[in-house]
């Protein structure tokens, strides 16, 4: 206790809190039901709350780790890194935002692509790192997506993409908008080859990502209660000046309106997608 605190009469003195005695990151509070969860157990449960089934946001590597078979993985396009061609500067320089995001996530940009297999079915899988600038799509995301599609065509194998993105990356201005056209054009090539593409929409999939490759799957799968849409709910609320319907832009709402095929629990994802891909590629049942 400092000399100053000793001067304060005990009845108005605030007790020092017990904060800091528990090591960081051992416990996690579920953002949906507020249950306090043991971190290690939560990870074993693929970051799905065991109490309320809330699907928390997870990183791209972890997602691909859960999804792909352990053997024979090959990362694609990791040599492609972002550049600040426009010398974009808002309250921070884009260049600095890139290095902050890179340090924070350990990734060079927001999309990770790995060739591997799911329960023995060869596949190229891509996943968004939402923690990297909100999973925003710039030139690198577009270029890696294109590489993913090209690899599928060369190897004659299906594509699976897990989206989690706020949309286009404003700091790359019109270049980022054009990635929508580029990725959609690539998927047209993939479709011409008769190769399956499964788009998995996770929380959140919005804007330019939603309005391009995320909505161009042969099959649209969503995780429960993921926010999926074109315009953000706040923008819509301001435009129409009325409160939005319950569950608006959530997976269940999209399924009801016909935009997605399936809602799949994260813990079943690998199994369900493997089964779909096996059928689409005429492989024998497992």
């Amino acid at each position: 206790m400092s000399w100053f605190e000793k001067l304060i009469p005990s009845r108005i003195r605030t007790e020092a809190t017990q904060k800091g005695t528990v090591p960081e990151g051992v416990w996690t509070k579920c953002p949906s039901c507020s249950s306090v969860l043991y971190r290690a157990e939560l990870e074993r449960n693929m970051d799905v709350c065991p109490k309320c089934n809330h699907h928390m946001r997870i990183g791209a590597r972890m997602r691909l780790n859960h999804f792909l078979d352990a053997e024979e993985r090959l990362e694609i396009g990791q040599n492609l890194h972002p550049v600040d061609a426009l010398k974009f500067r808002d309250s921070k320089k884009y260049k600095d935002r890139i290095s902050i995001a890179q340090k924070k996530t350990g990734e060079s940009d927001a999309l990770i692509v790995i060739k591997g297999s799911v329960e023995g079915v060869p596949v190229v899988a891509a996943a968004f790192e939402f923690a990297f600038m909100g999973g925003s799509m710039g030139s690198v995301v577009g270029a890696r997506f294109l590489k993913a599609v090209e690899m599928c065509i060369v190897e004659n194998i299906p594509l699976v993409c897990f989206s989690a993105s706020g949309g286009a990356r404003m700091q790359e201005a019109l270049f980022s908008l054009m990635q929508m056209a580029k990725t959609s054009a690539a998927l047209n090539k993939l479709a011409k080859r008769g190769l399956p593409y499964i788009s998995v929409l996770t929380d959140p999939t919005m804007g330019g990502v939603s309005a391009s490759f995320a909505m161009l799957g042969d099959i649209h799968v969503a995780e429960p209660k993921a926010l999926i849409g074109f315009a953000g709910p706040r923008v819509i609320e301001q435009t129409v000046r009325e409160t939005l319907p319950e569950g608006f832009q959530r997976s269940e709402f999209l399924q009801e309106h016909g935009a997605i095929d399936l809602i799949v629990d994260r813990r079943d994802m690998r199994n369900r997608i493997a089964s779909l891909l096996a059928i689409m590629t005429h492989r024998a049942a497992q």
Binding site: A85, L174, A181, G232, V240, H257
Partner: protein, 320 residues
Amino acid sequence: MNPNFLDFEQPIAELEAKIEELRYVGDDAEININEEIGDLQGKCKTLTESIFSKLEPWQISQLARHPLRPYTLDYIERIFTDFQELHGDRAYADDAAIVAGMARIDGKPVMVIGHQKGRDTKEKLKRNFGMPRPEGYRRALRLMKMAEKFRLPVLTFIDTPGAYPGVGAEERGQSEAIARNLFEMADLSVPVICTVIGEGGSGGALAIGVGDRVQMLQYSTYSVISPEGCASILWKSADKAPDAAEAMGITSERLKELGLIDRIIPEPLGGAHRDMDAIAASLKHALLETIEQLQAIPEERLLELRYERLCAIGNVNDVS
């Protein structure tokens, strides 16, 4: 303040008002003031030239949204003959924020598709301020596929603040409608020429903006988000829109430098709205020239070139 002039044009408006005044006096005055009027007109032209020679991106974005700026139907009226508007997406509704139909340009049959804004309050509401809903994009796609069937080049005119952010639009799949257009336009087997005539607002613009040639009128803009939207997200204040406009590089000149568009169509002094016939004639000339170029390319090659063009867009650093 004259509402037909933007803030930065007010000095021009004042001079023009003075000229009008003199003309009025001139009718019954004994002295010959024609000379003075001529002088003032010269001055007015010089002033306009000087103001327009150093426009800021934010000023250009105001010109792109000028209330008198020619819209798609103004161009259709001046450039094409035999235009017949074709309505509806065959699934849900007809969206008045997009006009589309078959027409002839110099006798050649084409398909025309464009965003349409309204002039007065009633029409603005009818046109939903040029913000399409999914049915608008689906109608555009229906007619593009029809153009493919009947071998008609597709000419699109882009002028929208963006796709409409509304509850119904989301329910009916705004994202999917835009994505589907990008997917199909990448592989449409007829020439596609896209012209930004006013505001090129984000995904709502791109949804009819994938083609073999993308051109912009001099004072139009094209961007991933409006300067106001960008400013309120990145600067946390919509007042910073001029800074956002500058940073994003939304003008035809900047986008041409960046290699994102192919051609700039120069506008008359003071902007397209000062002389609609002149700008329509320039646009018509550019369209005819481009149609001819593209029709000379065999279909397979055309699609290859379009794909290569799309794949080449972006800046990455290969560290391998």
